[in-house]
């Protein structure tokens, strides 16, 4: 497999910023030209890619009245104001939405990482009847498109009287089969001798899992928990239908369904878009490497 991401010991070199082609010393004139052209092309496209976000940011810092006049007015206006952000925070809904998004994302990430790593531990380190069947189920589960199950999931949550609670967003997202798969691959790479040594020393299976395997798996734990957090934060489909109380809505659902009544307040709308993204931008800046590696790893396997 081309997996380079979350496997113990093998670390993708791109993370460190070393490019293979940058084999110093052997770059001729054509190499230099190529470098320059590459950089120019990349910079141009990077700017194109940044424009929508920067335009949204600029708009959110513009007065609603100016923003209503259109792009030209927004781009040529130089009186930044935090009014749109302030009005969001004063209106209060945003706090409840942040709360709902934060609570559901954190709890789902905790439960997913905990339960999936336990299951992966059993599949990777324990020998028992039914193990192969269980693993086959996991592999099959990867193929199940959970989005397509939105209607029956709604019905089941309704039977359990869980609609309009945070649990209705949390529970259906806990069985992330891909997480078990990623953990298992990682655990498979941990040499058996270490575990056996611990067992001989008298550690039971739980202790092996908790005190040996998990501490060794920090990179993959971090990657899976961050990715789960991001996935739950960004989910629209599930919370859109299972949460109808405006006080309990997650940020994307709140922004999508609750409208402000006074016409098109573009600056406010863009401020909302940025507020929904802000925690993730911060998360990215802190955990850049885990996120990129995790996304790559899950993409290659899932």
């Amino acid at each position: 497999m081309t997996t380079t991401a979350v496997r113990p010991g093998k670390r993708p070199s791109y993370v460190s910023g070393a490019a293979p082609a940058a084999n110093a010393g052997r770059i001729g004139t054509s190499g230099k030209t190529f470098q320059i052209v590459s950089v120019i092309v990349l910079v141009v496209f990077a700017i194109i890619w940044l424009i929508p976000s920067l335009f949204a940011l600029k708009t959110s810092l513009t007065d609603n009245g100016v923003a209503a006049l259109g792009a030209q007015a927004i781009l040529t206006n130089w009186n930044p104001t935090l009014h749109s952000f302030a009005s969001f925070f004063q209106a209060g809904d945003i706090w409840n939405w942040y709360l709902a998004s934060g609570i559901t994302s954190v709890i789902t990430a905790l439960l997913t990482v905990f339960f999936a790593s336990m299951a992966a531990f059993a599949l990777s380190r324990l020998r028992f009847r039914g193990r192969n069947v269980s693993f086959l189920l996991v592999i099959l589960g990867i193929m199940i498109p959970t989005q397509v199950l939105i209607v029956p999931i709604f019905q089941m949550l309704n039977w359990m009287s869980l609609l309009n609670t945070y649990w209705s967003v949390i529970f259906p997202q806990v069985p992330a089969v891909i997480a078990v798969f990623i953990f298992k691959q990682f655990f498979d790479g941990i040499p058996a001798e270490m575990e056996e040594a611990a067992r001989i020393d008298g550690a039971n299976r739980w202790q092996v899992y908790w005190s040996l395997i998990l501490p060794l798996s920090r990179p993959v734990l971090a990657a899976v928990s961050i990715l789960t957090f991001v996935g739950v934060w960004n989910n629209l489909l599930l919370p859109l239908f299972v949460l109808s109380n405006p006080n309990l809505m997650t940020i994307p659902v709140g922004l999508a369904t609750v409208q402000s009544s006074f016409g098109q307040r573009y600056a406010d709308i863009q401020a909302g878009a940025i507020l929904a993204a802000l925690p993730l931008i911060i998360l990215y800046l802190i955990f850049q490497r885990q996120i990129v590696e995790g996304v790559t790893g899950s993409g290659l396997k899932g």
Partner: protein, 446 residues
């Protein structure tokens, strides 16, 4: 390498716990308890949902403020405005199915019917009405009769919003159609109306009248068609048996639809215009008249320098009729204490009392103490078209029908094509029949 990877297991757990602790510290215990334990948020607060954007949204906020002022301040009411259309009705249904509905919600009258069929609504009893001093006599006949279902009151109408004719006073004057009272002369037959169209067309050197029919606009063609269709003495309901039978009188259908198409052929009616452009034609004098619901009053009033007025669509066939719907208040099904019922009714009463604010936006009040008041009768141009509401024709009840519904989408799209001359009336009939077949043959899920 493992240590280098940022998150330690303990740190991870701590971060998680901190994430849980922050809300508690912030004192946001309300939603958290509701979200985790399913408890009710604030039993004292009345939860009210609506779908009003634009000018209606602004006026509704004024009315909500009016309620808060007289009923215990900011915490007495939690009002939420959702995005208009199907998603809104989905939210009402799903929240009720999930046992967490709002106390009061707004619904179009034609959409309240399928909600009632689905068991989503609590009936409103005469005692409920009496508890806040209301009775059936307080409401206009058309909407009150229309909401009554199997002997139950299912919704309390706030207004009626019929299809009306907007006209540009300058253009109409040039065409010699302005009466001595400053309003358009009565056009009481098809011949008079068509003569007027010809006259206006001469002034505009283009269409005389516009009606939106492209870019996804299916509701307007339906509104125009069904208005004219129901002016026919031989008109039968388009759908019967809650949508199980297609009972439209096809002869009348072809008569009306061919007539509309003939106007396009003569250049009197636009062939294809989207919603915004259709009204801008009338606003700018490129056309004399414009057909749409009276709610476009707010938009027209914002156009600088425009002199416009409004009138019911003239009776071109045998009897007056105007396609309409009503905004109503519904009580989604939930366990309510007598106090909560009373509270909900008081809110509705407060909204009705403020009908005058609501009427500014063009809607014809259904609450007679306001509709019959001198203040309302003095309101212009409202007074010029309010009679259209007396002849309101509501969409036939069907589980897939009502304002903005699948039914309107299917039929309206075909009617739009006829107006574009992309389909003949016979082709439209065939296509409507075949597309409705799945719905006609499907037992109502309600």
């Amino acid at each position: 390498m493992a240590q280098a990877s940022g998150l330690s297991r303990r740190g991870f757990l701590a971060a998680g716990l901190a994430g849980l602790a922050i809300p508690a510290l912030a004192g946001c215990a309300g939603p958290v308890a509701a979200g985790l334990a399913g408890s009710q948020l604030n039993p004292k607060t009345l939860v009210y949902w609506n779908l009003f954007g634009g000018g209606d949204g602004g006026r509704m906020q004024t009315m909500e403020a009016g309620y808060r002022k007289t009923h215990g301040g900011a915490s007495s009411l939690q009002a939420t405005t959702f995005t208009w259309g199907n998603p809104y009705y989905s939210k009402v249904t799903l929240s009720t199915v999930g046992h967490k509905p709002p106390d009061v919600a707004v619904a179009h009258l034609t959409r309240a019917k399928p909600l009632w069929e689905g068991g989503i609504l609590d009936p409103i009893t005469d005692e409920d009405l009496a508890s806040v001093g209301l009775s059936a006599d307080d409401f206009s006949e058309a909407p009150w009769k229309a909401q009554k279902t199997n002997g139950h009151n299912i919704a309390i109408p706030l207004d009626t919003h019929p299809l009306v004719m907007f006209y540009n006073v300058d253009v109409i004057k040039k065409a010699g159609l302005l009466g001595s009272d400053g309003t358009i002369v009565p056009l009481n037959s098809m011949d008079e109306f068509e003569a007027a169209l010809a006259a206006v067309s001469k002034v505009t050197k283009g269409p005389a009248i516009t009606s939106a029919n492209v870019a996804g606009e299916t509701a307007t063609p339906w509104r125009v068609f069904t208005t004219l269709y129901n002016q026919h003495a031989d008109a039968t309901p388009f759908l019967s048996d809650n949508g199980a039978k297609l009972t439209v009188n096809w002869d009348v259908f072809e008569d009306v639809v061919s007539r509309i198409q003939s106007w396009v052929k003569k250049g009197w009616l636009n062939s294809g215009l989207d919603y915004g452009t259709a009204q801008s034609y009338m606003f700018t004098g490129k056309a004399g008249m414009y057909l749409e619901g009276e709610w476009e009053l707010t938009t027209a009033q914002l156009v600088k320098g425009l002199k416009f007025d409004m009138a019911p669509l003239p009776t071109l066939y045998d009897k007056p009729a105007a396609q309409a719907d009503s905004h109503t208040f519904i009580l989604p099904k939930k366990d309510r204490s007598p106090e909560q019922r009373k509270q909900a009714m008081e809110f509705i009463k407060s909204m009705l009392d403020q009908s005058m604010t609501w009427a500014q936006g063009g809607h014809v009040p259904a609450y007679l103490p306001v509709a019959n008041s001198d203040d309302y009768k003095k309101l212009k141009p409202q007074a010029h078209y309010a009679s259209a509401a007396d002849h309101a024709v509501y969409d036939d009840p069907a589980w897939y029908g009502g304002s903005g519904s699948t039914f309107e989408g299917i039929v309206g799209a075909e009617l739009g094509l006829v107006q574009q001359r992309a389909a003949t009336p016979a082709q439209a009939r065939e296509s409507i029949t075949s597309q409705l077949k799945i719905y006609l043959n499907t037992p109502s899920p309600l």
